[in-house]
């Protein structure tokens, strides 16, 4: 049962999906669960919608985790977020206000095929598991496959590379399904958050160019407030800024696509650490990493309820 679910260990896809069904079954007033499509290998792409059911118009926040299969702390955070949102709804006034005034769309594992592969075969697999017509190599980098400056700087057109952009934009069913959902709900989704690892950074557009976004002041202050809230948990510093200068230039990213699709607050988190464990962040660090990130995401979400 959900009360026995251990949020401080990494879970396989089966365990995560069983947990989603159980969360959906036990919280009928705050949770809805649906599939937005199927992966390349035919697995459902489940999303949890969190928030108090109301007839009135509500803004929404989208959070996806597990775009890159080997970044296991991502799915762990999405599960943690759901747990915190539901468990603290009664006694945390901030969370209650967020859940009453916003909807949260949580996609715990974006790249389901790759995630399974990283559990069963190659722990450091990154891409999807799609087949290529001409090469033996498999997979596309799901964060280079979006229709925004597709396959330009920072992406590779070679199918064997880890940053392969794919045969065409949205070639990956997983990318196409999320893009379709966000296009359909673009009027209500006001924040897009994608959880990655590792580098301890909070990034915002643009990735594909060095220009400054039009609403820079609002996004910059939201990012500063978020990393300050994160720091208040355990004193861990996250760098923040435009992805192109803070990390590196990359084209075809989900964050840039979401921003160009009209979502005013688009972020990518690079969670712990900065390179002691890398992708092998121990389970003992799931709690502090998710606790501090929770504060940052709550801060971003609260900012949506104010005018900038």
């Amino acid at each position: 049962s959900e009360s026995l679910y251990d949020y401080e260990v990494y879970h396989s896809l089966d365990e995560i999906q069983s947990w989603m069904f159980e969360i959906n079954r036990t919280h009928p007033h705050l949770v809805d669960m649906f599939s937005i499509g199927r992966s390349y290998e035919g697995r459902p792409l489940y999303v949890l919608q969190l928030g108090k059911r109301t007839r009135t118009y509500k803004k929404a926040v989208w959070i996806d985790c597990g775009v890159h299969a080997r970044e296991w702390i991502g799915p762990a955070f999405c599960q943690w977020f759901v747990k915190e949102a539901l468990h603290s709804y009664q006694n945390d006034s901030v969370m209650r206000r967020l859940m009453n005034q916003l909807n949260f769309y949580i996609m715990p594992v974006f790249n389901v095929d790759g995630y399974i592969f990283s559990w069963t075969t190659d722990r450091f697999w990154r891409k999807t598991r799609s087949k290529n017509a001409k090469y033996h190599c498999r997979g596309v980098d799901a964060n280079r496959n979006w229709k925004v400056k597709w396959c330009e700087e920072g992406a590779s057109s070679h199918p064997c590379d880890d940053t392969y952009c794919g045969p065409f934009p949205e070639s990956e069913p997983e990318v196409k399904a999320v893009a379709k959902f966000l296009r359909k709900h673009k009027k209500r989704v006001k924040a897009y958050i994608s959880i990655h690892a590792y580098a301890q950074m909070l990034l915002y557009p643009y990735s594909y160019k060095y220009a400054t976004i039009p609403n820079f002041n609002c996004v910059e202050s939201a990012a500063l407030n978020a990393v300050t809230a994160l720091y208040s948990a355990y004193g861990v510093r996250y760098r923040y800024g435009p992805a192109s200068t803070t990390l590196y230039v990359s084209s075809g990213s989900s964050m840039d696509w979401a921003y160009r699709n009209g979502i005013p607050y688009a972020f990518a988190f690079e969670l712990r650490d900065t390179g002691y464990f890398g992708f092998l962040l121990p389970e003992a660090l799931i709690n502090p990493t998710c606790t501090e990130t929770m504060r940052a995401v709550k801060t971003i979400s609260s900012g949506l309820l104010k005018k900038c």
Binding site: Y10, R123, F124, D162, G275, L280, L281
Partner: protein
């Protein structure tokens, strides 16, 4: 063992090129052998004074180490046995579960 012990002896190097010449040398070196780049995601993104984390298969660790030392490129080993770290990350629990 998890993953059939395929990562036994593999290592993760943290390399920091300190000038453009070292960047080019590193790109060449990493381009000639199959490595798994952790940071940045591709060799084309390697730049001056930015750390490069790379997963090196056990058969290649000695060769890479020798080349980096020969080129005087600063590096350290941040994971000395990948299989052990993988086992640490979740191994005990799943082996307990298997038992």
């Amino acid at each position: 063992y998890l993953y059939n012990n395929r990562y036994a002896g593999d290592q993760v190097f943290r390399i920091t090129p300190s000038n453009e010449g070292e960047v080019q040398e590193l790109k060449k070196l990493l381009g000639n052998i199959k490595v798994d780049l952790w940071q940045p995601n591709s060799a084309s993104l390697i730049r001056n004074n930015a750390t490069v984390d790379v997963h090196v298969r056990r058969n290649n660790t000695r060769g890479i180490r020798a080349r980096l030392q020969k080129e005087h490129i600063d590096f350290k080993v941040f994971i000395s046995n990948l299989q052990k770290e993988i086992e640490k990350q979740t191994g005990y629990r799943s082996s307990r579960k298997r038992r």
